[in-house]
């Protein structure tokens, strides 16, 4: 069943609780206290200054699979012609009926139509900035006010509505409000070539009325803009790797052969993890945010009754056993869910033997403790805590970036 199909069935599943999440609060408190004590003892290893907030980074505002993808900046760049006031740093991308993507995570602030901007979408990002997408095609807006979006999500199709000379996407960012202080939208994601270093547009955009300017520079040649956000990487045992993007694309790198048969959700950043089987490089499993497990290559399908289905985007990571047909999925709260293609499930960790934080999407990744036995392992939380489950011994030392008061439960 596709993720889209599962979404359509949301009404019957939306309120379904995460399995293994129904543990008493007192038990969760006890687990958290153990986690905090363990993590506190392990502090001081990381190199990150926790006082320095990350600089926001954004995707480019169109969707595409990884690979060559480019669009002209069709004239009006910073401070040129009508691009003044809140539009001072606005950019006109030469998109023609292209899927338009959210450049960052946030909430749909408004959608609508006016005679200048045409059909538009405004998004308030989680960092407080706003993004405006104008001249969108009539009837193409795919989001509504208060919808949550991630970077790379397909929100509309570009067009020529409103006051526009030729089809293009009018894109701007502001802070303090949707029409307040103009914000220069850099850094914004682009790579200057396949498997090369991260860049910001390839270079800093120039000011003025520069026509037919390509962000990569050097004229209008193709640029390699990664507009599908990468979410994971997995290695074959001997050589080659696969990069998973949010749309379900699995891109072989470093000499790995193409692995086909996986799902595809263009413009929907819903993939969460992909692992190659540890004993067979020809197969693997892809986890989507709803808990669906899709076989890739010649992997055996997982019967639906053995897949954790959440009904919302909360699945985060997958670990695969040596048999290449069983393993665990991890949800963001810390729930650990066994699965198996043949119905022989690995043991489920007993409640209280793993870290769990109901209502807090803080868990990031899961690995098995042992190559052959799936009974124990570790879960990484966002603060660097390495949380053992099912009796796995603690790991020390480990990096740790503190805890927070954001936990809604405590």
């Amino acid at each position: 069943m596709s993720v889209i199909s599962r979404l359509k069935g949301l009404t019957s599943h939306l309120v379904r609780r995460i399995r293994q999440g129904d543990v008493p609060l007192s038990k969760r408190l006890r687990v958290l206290s153990v986690s905090l004590a363990t993590a506190g003892a392990l502090s001081g290893i990381g190199t990150i200054n926790v006082a320095a907030a990350p600089i926001p980074v954004f995707m480019l505002p169109w969707t595409a699979n990884p690979g060559p993808s480019w669009h002209d900046i069709s004239g009006n760049t910073y401070g040129c012609n009508s691009h003044m006031g809140p539009d001072y740093y606005a950019i006109d991308f030469g998109l023609v009926n292209n899927p338009v993507a959210s450049v960052g995570k946030g909430v749909i602030y408004s959608t609508g139509y006016d005679s200048v901007g045409g059909y538009y979408v405004e998004i308030k990002h989680d960092d407080g900035t706003y993004a405006y997408y104008g001249h969108l095609s009539q009837g193409s807006i795919r989001v509504s006010t208060n919808n949550r979006v991630r970077e790379g999500d397909w929100i509309a199709t570009s067009g020529q509505t409103g006051s526009a000379i030729g089809p293009h996407l009018h894109f701007r960012m502001t802070s303090g409000g949707p029409t307040s202080t103009p914000v220069k939208p850099e850094p914004m994601g682009a790579t200057s070539g396949p498997s090369t270093s991260f860049g910001h547009w390839g270079y800093s955009l120039s000011y003025g009325c520069l026509w037919s300017q390509d962000p990569v520079g050097g004229g209008r040649g193709p640029g390699y803009f990664a507009t599908a956000p990468a979410v994971a990487i997995t290695s074959r045992y001997y050589s080659g790797d696969y990069v998973l993007d949010g749309y379900g694309g699995i891109t072989p790198v470093n000499g790995a052969p193409v692995m086909s048969g996986g799902p595809s959700w263009p413009g929907w950043n819903i993939s969460r993890d992909f692992k190659v089987c540890p004993t067979d490089d020809s197969k693997g499993y892809l986890l989507d945010g709803f808990g669906g497990i899709s076989p890739v290559g010649n992997a055996t399908p997982i019967p639906s009754q053995y897949r954790a289905y959440f009904g919302w985007d909360i699945a985060r990571s997958i670990a695969i056993g040596w048999d290449c047909q069983s393993g665990y999925t991890l949800d963001g709260y810390g729930g650990i869910h066994p699965f198996a293609a043949n119905g022989v499930l690995p043991p489920a960790p007993a409640p209280g033997t793993y870290a769990y934080h109901q209502g807090w999407d803080i868990m990031r990744s899961i690995v098995n403790r042992d190559y052959f036995n799936l009974g124990a392992g570790y879960v990484l939380d966002g603060y660097g805590g390495i949380n053992p489950f099912a009796g796995a011994p603690a790991i020390s030392p480990s990096p740790y970036w503190g805890w927070t008061s954001h936990d809604p439960l405590y």
Binding site: T191, A226, R236, D241, S398, P399
Partner: protein, 92 residues
């Protein structure tokens, strides 16, 4: 106040248990456990939370039955799909 910046991790040694690496959002490869050596990595994006995934080749190393000289190496990926290599003490 802590910082939600850990993004992925791998185990590279499981006997004696356990060692590996934690990837932070800036691209730092942070050793964990007693048998994870310092790594040399290609990119670090200071204050840019763009690193997303960490992978390792030749994992599940067993120091007691193995050669003891095997070192980890692999790749990590950032938001924009660029894979960057890292290696433990020049391995791989």
């Amino acid at each position: 106040m802590g910082m939600d910046i850990a993004r992925s991790f791998v185990l590279t040694v499981n006997n004696p248990c356990c060692s590996g690496y934690v990837l932070d959002g800036y691209g730092g490869i942070n050793p964990m456990g007693p048998n994870a050596g310092a790594v040399v990595a290609g990119n670090y994006w200071n204050n840019l939370d763009v690193a997303r995934g960490l992978a390792v080749r030749g994992k599940w190393l067993n120091y007691q039955t193995g050669t003891g000289a095997y070192k980890a190496c692999g790749y990590y990926v950032e938001l924009y799909n660029s894979a960057t290599s890292y290696s433990e003490n020049g391995a791989c």
